[in-house]
Amino acid sequence: MPWAIAAPNTPPPPTWGIFTPGTVGQFFFVIVYSAVIYWLISRAKAGMPVPEIRKIAGLDAFDEAVGRATEMGRPVHFTPGFYAFSSHTLAAFSILAHVASLCARYDTRLIVTTLNATNHPVLEEIVRQAYLEVGKPDSFNREDVRYLSGYQFAYTAGVVGIFHREKVAANFMMGWFLGEALVIAEAGALAGAIQIAGCPAVVQLPYLVASCDYALIGDELYAASAYLSKDPVMVGTLIAVDWFKMFITGLIVIGVVFANLGSKAFMNFITK
């Protein structure tokens, strides 16, 4: 009779007296991970040798896209995706800095749109800085960094309208996208824009791969931002993430071997 008397719900005793059970592995993971990132960033900042990041296919297309827009005398559009201040948005910001710098250098109009009000001041600052760095602060037009709407499809309708009215020649979609991804990318294709997307959202990737000329898939978005910015913090972090991917690959291989030997010892060890 399970409904008659419920056993008192006592929490399990803490591991080693201080840790919530199941968090010891996580704690050491975070400590070691943070230490490795710090060490690699310090090395990169000090100009000491760090492993080289290989070039991502599709990065050459950035110059091609902006170059094409310049030749056609039409604007470039950039969107940093759905969310504010997540890892993918921060990667999108770095890529925007590069795209804005290219646009400023070639005197090509850059339209940046966002559906996140908190992104707006940062986007404006990034574009302004890019124009300042190439010595053309007067070419920066504040009106071209636009917060359209906080509502997903109202924003999407706005972007679609911009593509057709402003005759956008190149479209950059970098960051995390949801249902608006295909609508925006299709509108870009209809407008005849050369399109480059970078998105870690597995659900939206198929649409972007199908409708864009180039796509940075998954982690390539982060790698592209580090590669383009050459920022020691980003480069160091990317290398640390790479090393942890190697570490995780090792964990998976060992775990699978243990599982196939019928032992749960390894599983219990890392989930302690």
């Binding site: 968090t23 996580q26 993971f29 975070v30 991970y33 492993p51 080289e52 990041i53 290989r54 991502i56 504010a84 201040f85 997540s86 921060l90 908190t118 001041p121 940062v122 359209l148 709407s149 509502y151 499809f153 109202a154 924003y155 309708a157 706005g158 679609v160 309208g161 057709h164 009215r165 295909l182 597995v202 659900v203 990737l205 198929p206 649409y207 791969v209 199908a210 898939i217 998954g218 982690d219 390539e220 790698a223 990317l238 790479d242 090393w243 991917k245 190697m246 995780i248 690959t249 964990l251 998976i252 775990g255 699978v256 243990f258 599982a259 196939n260 390894f266 599983m267 890392i270 989930t271």
Partner: protein
């Protein structure tokens, strides 16, 4: 609600739907009109919603009635954002709440992501000899694709040598299959949405379909 008001509501909805669909022919005045109405409505709806769901309960209930004055701190931080429209020498202050926000997100990610990650890692500890042949093949493919995908996204490893090229090619094929499945799944969902609008036009509005 029924009768005339309902008919008017349905007709406005139908005109809006048709105006948006007219984009499939080309960008035109009807679409442009609807686009601006949509953005305007969203802004108005957002403002009203923010006032009733956020500002009113915050100031009247939580701060005014319950005396939770600590909530004035995030309010002040939010207001600081507007200093970017103020005098030039004060603009830097607007970056402080932004910095706090970025820091908060970084800390949150660091604290809560490892748990999810560890769950994903242990989820790959699969037996190759499962109950059925199909499940065994499934498990083997799952582990292989998972490991190869991790290797594919290691950006410090050069794609040189037969092994790396082989892993890269295998992973690309796996991606193609996965993306193909995702695409067809998504298209089904979009067709379903389209059918919903067709049902609205032919059924709710015109009454041609029951």
């Amino acid at each position: 609600m029924g009768g005339l008001p309902k008919t008017v509501e349905l007709t406005i909805g139908a005109i809006g739907t048709l105006a948006v669909f007219s984009f499939l022919y080309k960008e035109n005045l009807a679409y442009r009109y609807m686009e601006h109405i949509y953005i305007g409505l969203a802004a108005a709806h957002g403002a009203v919603l923010t006032f009733h769901n956020q500002l009113k309960p915050l100031f009247l209930k939580q701060i005014g009635a319950q005396g939770q004055y600590s909530l004035l701190i995030p309010v002040a931080m939010g207001l600081l954002l507007y200093l970017r429209y103020g005098p030039k020498e004060w603009v830097w202050i607007s970056r402080l709440p932004m910095a706090f926000w970025v820091g908060y997100n970084a800390g949150y990610t660091l604290a809560y992501d490892p748990k999810v990650l560890l769950g994903q890692i242990t989820g790959t500890f699969l037996k190759f000899s499962a109950k059925t042949v199909g499940e065994s093949i499934n498990n083997i493919l799952f582990v292989l694709i998972c490991v190869f995908t991790l290797v594919y996204f290691m950006f410090t490893l050069k794609r040189e040598g037969q092994v790396m090229k082989g892993i890269s090619a295998f992973t690309r094929y796996a991606f193609m299959v996965a993306l193909g499945v995702g695409f067809s799944n998504g298209i089904m969902a979009r067709v379903s949405l389209f059918l919903g609008r067709v049902q609205f036009l032919l059924g709710d509005w015109l009454g041609l379909v029951k």
